[in-house]
Symmetry: C2
Subunit: 359 residues, 2 copies
Amino acid sequence: MISQEKNSGNPGIPAVHARADSAHPVTLREVAELAGVSTATVSLVINKKKNARIADETRQRVTEAIAKLGYRPNAMAKTLVSGTSKFIGLVADGVATTPFAGQIIHGAQDEAWKHGYALLIANTEGNKDLEKDAIAMMLEYKVRGILYSTWFHRPTDVPETLREADFVLVNCFSAEAGAARAVVPDEAQGGQSATEILLREGHRRIAFINTTTPAPAKDGRLQGYKSALESAGIPFNPELVLEAYPDQEGGYGATDDLLKLKVSAVYCYNDRMAMGLYDGLRENGLSIPGDIAVVGFDNQEVIAAHLRPPLSTVSLPHYELGAAGVRMLLGLDAAPLDSAVKIACPAVERASVAVHLPA
Amino acid sequence: MISQEKNSGNPGIPAVHARADSAHPVTLREVAELAGVSTATVSLVINKKKNARIADETRQRVTEAIAKLGYRPNAMAKTLVSGTSKFIGLVADGVATTPFAGQIIHGAQDEAWKHGYALLIANTEGNKDLEKDAIAMMLEYKVRGILYSTWFHRPTDVPETLREADFVLVNCFSAEAGAARAVVPDEAQGGQSATEILLREGHRRIAFINTTTPAPAKDGRLQGYKSALESAGIPFNPELVLEAYPDQEGGYGATDDLLKLKVSAVYCYNDRMAMGLYDGLRENGLSIPGDIAVVGFDNQEVIAAHLRPPLSTVSLPHYELGAAGVRMLLGLDAAPLDSAVKIACPAVERASVAVHLPA
DNA sequence: GCAGCGTGTTCAAGCGTTTTAGCAAAATTC
DNA sequence: GAATTTTGCTAAAACGCTTGAACACGCTGC
């Protein structure tokens, strides 16, 4: 008569498939009882320990009991005893604001999953208090480590509490050198690729509309533009570099200045500027890429792929950043402390450049 | 001499602030020892139990010990004993594909946070195996419940294992009635609002370019268009309803047919179609909203807010969907089993309609 | 006939908390 | 000043699992 009130069912002949509706979830003990073995044995069967010797007949019985009861291991208990959880934390400052954070999440999640980790995410939208709470929460859940990410590539301060965990900066880096592992996009290579798309089609006089906003991307993308020209034996001409606010309005507004430069091609700091520029060029009766070839940067799908003509651009590798962050965290990828690891920005060629493909 | 090897520090005079680098995290026991009390007392202090009687002096000593050791409670242990975790699972089928899922995540996370819950997310990108694993993982972590979300509003099958948990469908609903709680956008009201934006400016002959793809949105948005006309005393004219593929190309391609209708305004199934239509109208030398007023649907920020002129549209309330899903899960909002709860799609008015605001 | 071995299984401690019942001392009552 | 109540704290069980040590077998070999 012991444990008669233990659970809803009668211990001898349990329901075909126990469900969440029975107040208490099925435990190892119950499986063990049904199978007529000890909990230790059940545990051994479940975890398929190589050096554990279990009779086939027993293994069978346990497996059946598990199926019959619909047993789910309690990951919390598992974690408690093993000491280290299977969580990786991801704190992001702008999941909602842009599609970019989504990509980082996706990459991190896929990679984490691959190694048996689950993602615990916190979206701070830049709120420092929230951020602190989020990190505290993650520490309490004993995460394996934390990915600290920003929605645009920038230097950042490492929150004090973050240091209590293993962490990697994603899409951002610490201003003080040697302080943190980090992974960022390779802006310079991206800028070079963008420019090369145009050079490859024979363009020699190429304008660059840079952003007015200071950022690693501003410097990097310009640097890439210069390197590409240099490799092609074209002298850098500062007059061909304009600056505008990095959105549609900015691109549109830069149209007049751009036209004065008499270039055959233009590389824009980002896709949104290119989108605005499209409008400006069209209003001036110019066709893309017939009269002028355009490339952007960021590969913001909803824009770049659907402009007419579709925009050649360079991808910000957010997915890869997330994935690489996880790998660095888990020690699978090298992760120098003194400088950020750079991830390539691959070129994406579309119809806004090839002269033989009119709109 | 007991426990001399317990940790790195000497038990009497511990380090000013213990850190993650000391192999073992600080536990309740260590705090208790330092404060010279039992673990029970420390626990009571931490959890500020109202009916616990603790001397101020003791409370003080404990608090100091906690600070000194940099103690972090172990949420796993907590969960083990309480039986239910502070997690809410969110399985999404397209975090990366669109900015929409990001909004759902954001809304869910904010609301969950408000009630002390953390979000455990899994991105399945439509992969059923991944989805099953994700749900299993969540069940093993004993989540309070699961939000099952889709990136566009649609009917869905409820995965078998999902039923083992408390769950709410977000942005989707079960084909079989009475089977699941769900929260979806109110497409009909949205369609009505969109149409009303145009009616309010005096337009009487309004075209609707619907999608060719069957979906709840297709029916709902048309329904809303009809209701709005009816309320305004305008008979519904089926000839004014066109259909096109719901992207930029579709909108662009619909231009000619639209122009034949001789309408003064058009309501597009979504913003992307409107974006394509902008190009088509511009090529025909027509100005927006001077010659023709345009409204979209979805409020896809990166498009709608930055077209020229900015596009009037109706918001898909993804943030609210996520938040409402959490509230329904926690039993804070009513959640009927027999029909989905509908969330309003608020109108967002911009310059693509008001006749007195030329581009 | 027994030491030794391989096999299959269980014992029991422990992971870091929470929480209830209960104990000792101090304070209050009459 | 004994009885009672209040106050401050602790012991110990429990949560569900893992794991190394131990145990009970039946065999083998000598």
